[in-house]
């Protein structure tokens, strides 16, 4: 009987400090057994449980894209027991990964549609996965216009800086990067909160347009009225939720909202679905 709690052993291959406050680091992990990588076949939007022997496990969105082979990447914010320990680990250290878990952004529904990605803070991880996936030469033609509205407090708090600049230069993706405030005279992008920039830059909603919204609760709260104003149907607004988790497979009973387990039936829900679920997240 397969044990769904048993992590695949992985080695830390690279660690990148992403933000100026050094609280966010990206970990590139390589499977010790190549066969495990085959079994770990995932879609953009899914998450995994990172396991550290002696400390425990944490659910983290997969930041690498299914089109990137040979490694998995996770961007982790330092908050508590496991994340702090992980931040102190070194290249070459051995840890574990379980997954992939949860559902993903509805890639089949979004084929031949416009995709508007709206992200704030460090919730940009699975959105990075999604952008890399859509921009892959094998996939780009499957989607129409792609817009990305991504904001952080300051320029130094934006994740994946080099990639953001590279995407800015492309003509097959419309980037709208923003910061809450900056005194950097060289800042050449937007200044303003994500909801404001969404109001200014996002295309109007219609049956051919989907919005994927991920960010802190406050950003989500103020972005929703903007999307309503732009006439996005609630079934076309896609969100990814967070709950405290343990098992990641819908068994330990921890992460439910109503009858749905966020780890297994989510973390991706449409706003239309959430409207019919208890407001308990």
């Amino acid at each position: 009987m397969q044990n769904p709690y048993l992590p695949y052993p992985v080695r830390i291959d690279d660690i990148i400090t992403e933000t100026e406050d050094k609280n966010l680091k990206t970990f590139k992990l390589v499977f010790l057994n190549p066969a495990d990588e085959e079994n770990f076949s995932f879609q953009a939007g899914q998450f995994a449980e990172l396991s550290i022997a002696g400390k425990g496990e944490i659910p983290i969105g997969i930041a690498s894209s299914p089109t990137e082979k040979g490694f998995l990447a996770f961007t982790v914010n330092k908050v508590g027991l496991v994340t702090t320990h992980l931040h102190n680990m070194k290249v070459g250290d051995i840890m574990g990964v379980r997954g992939p878990f949860g559902n993903w952004y509805p890639w089949d529904l979004m084929e031949n549609k416009n995709v508007v990605i709206i992200g704030g803070g460090f919730a940009f991880t699975t959105l990075r996965s999604s952008i890399v996936y859509m921009l892959d030469p094998a996939n780009r033609s499957k989607f129409k216009d792609i817009h990305v509205i991504y904001g952080a407090r300051t320029p130094g708090m934006l994740l994946y800086g080099d990639e953001l600049s590279a995407w800015e230069k492309r003509d097959d993706i419309n980037m709208h990067i923003t910061v809450d405030a900056t005194d950097d005279p060289d800042w050449k992008y937007n200044i303003g909160f994500v909801p404001t920039i969404t109001d200014q830059k996002a295309p109007a909603g219609d049956e051919n347009t989907y919005a994927i919204v991920c960010g802190p609760p406050i950003m989500i709260k103020f972005t929703q009225p903007v999307l309503d104003k732009l006439q996005y149907d609630h079934d076309h607004i896609i969100m990814s939720l967070e709950m405290r988790m343990k098992c990641g497979i819908g068994i330990c009973g921890r992460c439910n909202i109503g009858k749905e387990y966020v780890c297994k039936d989510g973390p991706v829900f449409t706003l239309g679905q959430l409207n019919n679920m208890p407001k308990e997240y």
């Binding site: 397969q2 022997a53 330990c252 109503g258």
Partner: protein
């Protein structure tokens, strides 16, 4: 169905014979309460018990269970790599389990044993276990099993059902597992089936008649989750709750657990422990945010899970067998029957559109 008659004088001998093939568990009196414990050679289930304080769920799903082991000693080749710990899954038998508790395992099975994921610890332990049920001739005043999908003579979940008829037990053999166990015990005297069936039926009717409290669950399905969730009665029901978690620990159908690592020097284990939705840490995010940040929300979760979410998710009725333990042991007399009534009868003041 095959019925076997066991002379009570021969009961202990059979139990003794089973000791060579099974690990035996049965209700034993421990101070003021009965609880399920391993039966030592010569020990038999205590016939005076009405029901145990804790449910027998721990025989399949221990309160604390080791899952993995590992070494943190970097000089070892496989340090930091987890290895599964497989528990002793040799055949075991639970003798004298009440029909409600046996049924509870079937409700819990929908959680641990699914098409997508199988919890190997639970599934192996459950498969290794044979359940010898003991019908209730004298149910307690807090029992409401007959309207909670079970009953004092309910058979689902038991491999054999024993009925106490005075000098004899009459046993209904329900599954091949049960039949095998009876062979090994040497209990093979067939009861004249007409006679036995009639006797069982009479006792069953008498027992069912003694159960006077009930729950109505017929309208739970059709209620809107968000209406029930926003109902005004939660505050009132939760007013006296102290979030002690007793109700979840004694419950045969509560299954939530936590996973923790524990290390001594360089040897570590990953284990799981029963957890409770009544505790604040259950949903506490690392960021400090807690979606269930007060006791009313936690109490609401417990009862919504049992009486609405489970009902909708699995379409197998409520996640409760009516054993009444939470009613008996709650220090402040919170009564699931009253909550069920409030939920089943709830009409939102205004239909939200």
């Amino acid at each position: 169905m095959k019925c076997v008659k066991i002379d009570k004088k021969l009961f202990a001998g059979g139990i003794e014979r089973l000791q060579t093939s099974y690990r035996l568990f049965g209700p034993v009196k421990d101070n003021n309460f009965h609880d399920f414990q391993a039966l030592h050679v010569g020990e038999t289930p205590d016939p005076t018990m009405l029901n145990t304080r804790l449910s027998p769920k721990s025989i399949v799903y221990p309160q604390s269970e080791l899952m993995f082991e590992y070494s943190l000693d970097d000089s070892k080749k496989d340090s930091h790599i987890l290895k599964e710990i497989v528990a002793d899954n040799s055949p075991r038998v639970v003798i004298g389990i009440r029909p409600c508790d046996a049924k509870a395992f079937l409700l819990v099975q929908h959680n641990f044993d699914t098409l997508e994921y199988k919890d190997p610890y639970w599934v192996r332990a459950y498969e290794a276990t044979t359940f010898v049920g003991l019908a209730c001739n004298t149910p307690c005043s807090t029992c409401f099993c007959t309207t909670a999908g079970s009953g004092p003579f309910h058979e689902a979940g038991s491999d054999v059902l024993l009925v106490d008829t005075g000098d004899y037990y009459v046993a209904k053999i329900i599954t091949p597992k049960g039949e095998n166990l009876f062979k090994l015990a040497g209990w093979e005297e067939e009861a004249g089936s007409d006679n036995a069936a009639g006797e069982i039926e009479n006792l069953k009717q008498a027992a069912e008649a003694r159960i006077t409290t009930r729950v109505n669950t017929d309208k739970l399905r059709e209620k809107r989750t968000t209406d029930l969730f926003d109902a005004s009665f939660w505050e009132e029901f939760a007013f006296s709750c102290i979030n002690c978690g007793t109700c979840t620990y004694v419950c045969p159908t509560c299954w939530c657990f936590d996973i923790q690592d524990e290390v001594s020097k360089t040897a570590g284990v990953r284990m799981r422990n029963w957890d409770s939705c009544m505790y604040p840490l259950f949903t506490y995010h690392g960021s400090g945010h807690n979606p269930r940040d007060n006791k009313t929300k936690r109490l609401r979760q417990r009862f919504m899970h049992k009486l609405k979410y489970y009902v909708d998710k699995y379409e197998k009725g409520i996640q409760c067998v009516g054993c009444g333990r939470c009613i008996r042991f709650c220090p402040v007399n919170i009564d699931i029957r009253k909550l069920c009534e409030a939920m089943n009868n709830f009409e939102p003041a205004q239909k939200s559109i």
